[in-house]
């Protein structure tokens, strides 16, 4: 029968783990530097406002109106135009991935415009690329109005105008949106990978068995092993915070206390999950595959980082509640952009707390299961 939990022993295990980490500069550098690098690079890469779109135009009219139409497209600043003679297949530029949209101006376009008759123009958009298709479609309305006012002097003066106020991100800066979410995703992956691999290695080379053969309680092992990595995770987040604030200029409207609390719970949850993976697989290669599978794609695609959760079918909206990343994205966006207070973040924080506790409990039970015969 094992002794009750002794925190001193947990501390000793933690200390040994710290030594380990310190001696392996590769892992240390990775755990700290990597999140930073990732957020920097991809924060820079992500820009949802599409521009420099290749547009091929077929002008069968060659009138003043058609030229003005083409100018309207050009002056929008979104498109790079290229005129082609109308021979062969009009969808050829799209088939050959040379353009993302095709504009077809019919022969009598100019005449119809001048007579104020209905003058349709075909716009074919490449529907295979989700990151650009919808956005291009969205631009069409605005360009159509501009074209009408330019060509036919028709200004559609609306009866009612919408005056939008963009809250929390007035300039619709992509980075403000993506960087906090990216931080969550990167931290999640690193956390789960770190603990899964490190502990799996100990299972594989037998040192875990050795540890378990002593009076040490599994809870002490878990606390001892997780603690240094949680600190590492928090440090990484601190670095990301500075990057977000001072390089990307993202405002921080909320409470730092909640932010730290949220980060702590989040990192703890993923590390506990990594631990669970390592206890279950006991082998490094499997642990690796498993962690990548759980930690990478689901977090990128289902955490609300890019694709909003509200878009998902109801079943999946409930399913994503099982991912700590989904809750953390709420917390981190709430803290940075919305200035959310405790009442508003209570649910996400509690969810993460629940999950961290759940994973640790299950991990402890699985540890014990293999010690007791």
């Amino acid at each position: 029968m094992k002794d009750p939990v002794n925190l001193n022993r947990a501390y000793a295990i933690a200390f040994k783990e710290v030594r380990h980490i310190w001696r392996d500069p590769f892992t240390l550098g990775l755990a700290l530097g990597l999140p930073l690098l990732m957020v920097l690079f991809f924060g820079l890469a992500m820009d949802f406002n599409v521009h420099d779109i290749h547009l091929t135009s077929y002008d069968s009219d060659h009138s003043r109106s058609s030229r003005q139409l083409l100018e309207t497209f050009e002056s929008s600043g979104y498109f790079l135009l290229r005129q082609e003679p109308l021979i062969g297949n009009i969808t050829e530029p799209l088939d050959a991935n040379q353009a993302k949209a095709v504009l077809v101006i019919p022969p009598h376009f100019g005449r119809y415009v001048v007579s104020r008759m209905d003058s349709p123009v075909q716009v074919l958009i490449d529907g295979t690329d989700n990151s650009t298709a919808g956005v291009i479609g969205g631009y069409m309305e605005g360009i159509q109005s501009a074209a009408n006012s330019r060509l036919a002097n028709v200004s559609v003066s609306p009866v009612v105008t919408l005056k939008p106020r963009y809250l929390f991100n007035p300039e619709l800066n992509s980075r403000w949106f993506t960087v906090p979410g990216l931080a969550a995703v990167v931290l999640a992956i690193i956390s789960i990978l770190l603990t899964a691999m490190t502990v799996a290695r100990e299972w594989e080379n037998g040192s875990m068995e050795l540890l378990l053969s002593t009076p040490v309680h599994p809870v002490e092992i878990i606390l001892g092993k997780l603690a240094p990595y949680v600190v590492l995770g928090l440090s990484a987040q601190a670095l990301i915070y500075f990057l977000a604030r001072f390089y990307f200029g993202i405002p921080f409207m909320g409470s730092h206390v909640l932010f730290i609390l949220g980060t702590f719970l989040f990192v703890a949850a993923y590390m506990a999950l990594g631990l669970l993976v390592s206890v279950t697989t006991r082998q490094q290669i499997l642990a690796m595959q498993f962690s990548m599978m759980i930690g990478m794609l689901p977090n990128i695609l289902l955490s609300g980082f890019i694709f909003p959760i509200e878009n998902m079918p109801a079943f999946f909206q409930y399913l994503t509640m099982l991912f700590p990343a989904r809750w953390f994205v709420l917390v981190i966006r709430g803290c940075f952009l919305r200035g959310s207070d405790l009442a508003q973040l209570a649910v996400p924080l509690l969810a993460m707390l629940f999950m961290a506790t759940l994973f640790v409990t299950v991990a402890v039970r699985r540890f014990k299961k293999d010690v007791e015969p």
Partner: protein
Amino acid sequence: MKMNTTVMGFFKKELVQTLRDPRMRIMLFVMPIIQMTLFGIAISTETRNIKLAAVYKPNDFLMRRIVERCYSSQWFIPAKIGDMNDAFRMVQSGKADVVLIAPEKGLTRAVGRGGADVQLLIDSSNITKAEAVESYTQAILTQVLGEAFPEKNQNPPVRFVVRYLYNPEMVTSVFMVPSVLCMILLMVTLILSSSSMAREKESGTLETLLSSPATTTEILLGKSLPYVALGMAEFPLVIAVAVYGFGVPMRGSFWVLLFCALIFMCNAVALGILLSTFVKNLQQSAMAGFLFIFPAIQLSGVLYPVENMPWLLKYCAYLDPIMYFVNLLRNIMLKGGNLQVVVVNAGALVVMAFFAIGIASRRFHQTLN
């Protein structure tokens, strides 16, 4: 063609070691299908379930029409704001994504006087959502106004007829499923090949290999071909899920697609081996794998457009096998396959694979010093 005994021996060994553990078999053949299904169903780029609230006086009939039309559309749902009356709080608390605010004296009256504004408070922490909200609201507004004031209808001459080719309904799974397929295949094959080499290093069995007469070529081929084979075994499964499960069209030649898949697998495995020459043990190979795969996913052009990236990252995107293979998948499956596109993208993958193996074999020393 004479079969090289050593390479065949490796083939057998790698397959035996990999497939022996049932958990690994599940990881290789079941998990990708589950993941694809999950993501294919869950992800949608079409914004809906937008929580809308409105602040207006009960007798403001025009405003009420607009709000009701919003709710009955496919995009908006009523926000559960209880008895909150601070519009800002509504959005800030997350209970509403957008709040419509009628003018002081009511919209119906304001219109009568000519010129009226409706304020829109939009939660813009998600940009695509914010822009969608604005355009949907505008569309509904135009619709309602058009019905309420038919005489004010001016038909502007220039009219765009917009059609989305290859995927007219803009079904998200049609573009997401091939992309996810590609990511999963890369992850699995790259990690398999790199960790197999890393494990030989870590356990010391690499020394045994080096002390045998096996040449570098034989060892590298022996460590890569089995994983290309495994990847190719997975490919039909995931394609079947895409085509029969999700209805992704298959407009081009399946054989061309298969051939491109083969090239992609070779590429992924070559990269895995290259990565393994930089690491000493399995843990490092996991980190290295992550270091490559995460950027590969980000820069693939699937989540957000490559055209927008700063030039440095754009160049990195040109080294991204996911980008090329997604191009191939989309072009062949959705557009029927354009010769130039296929040659360029497949060619890029081939060139990359050659470079990777070349560098790997140079780094692979037959001696330990």
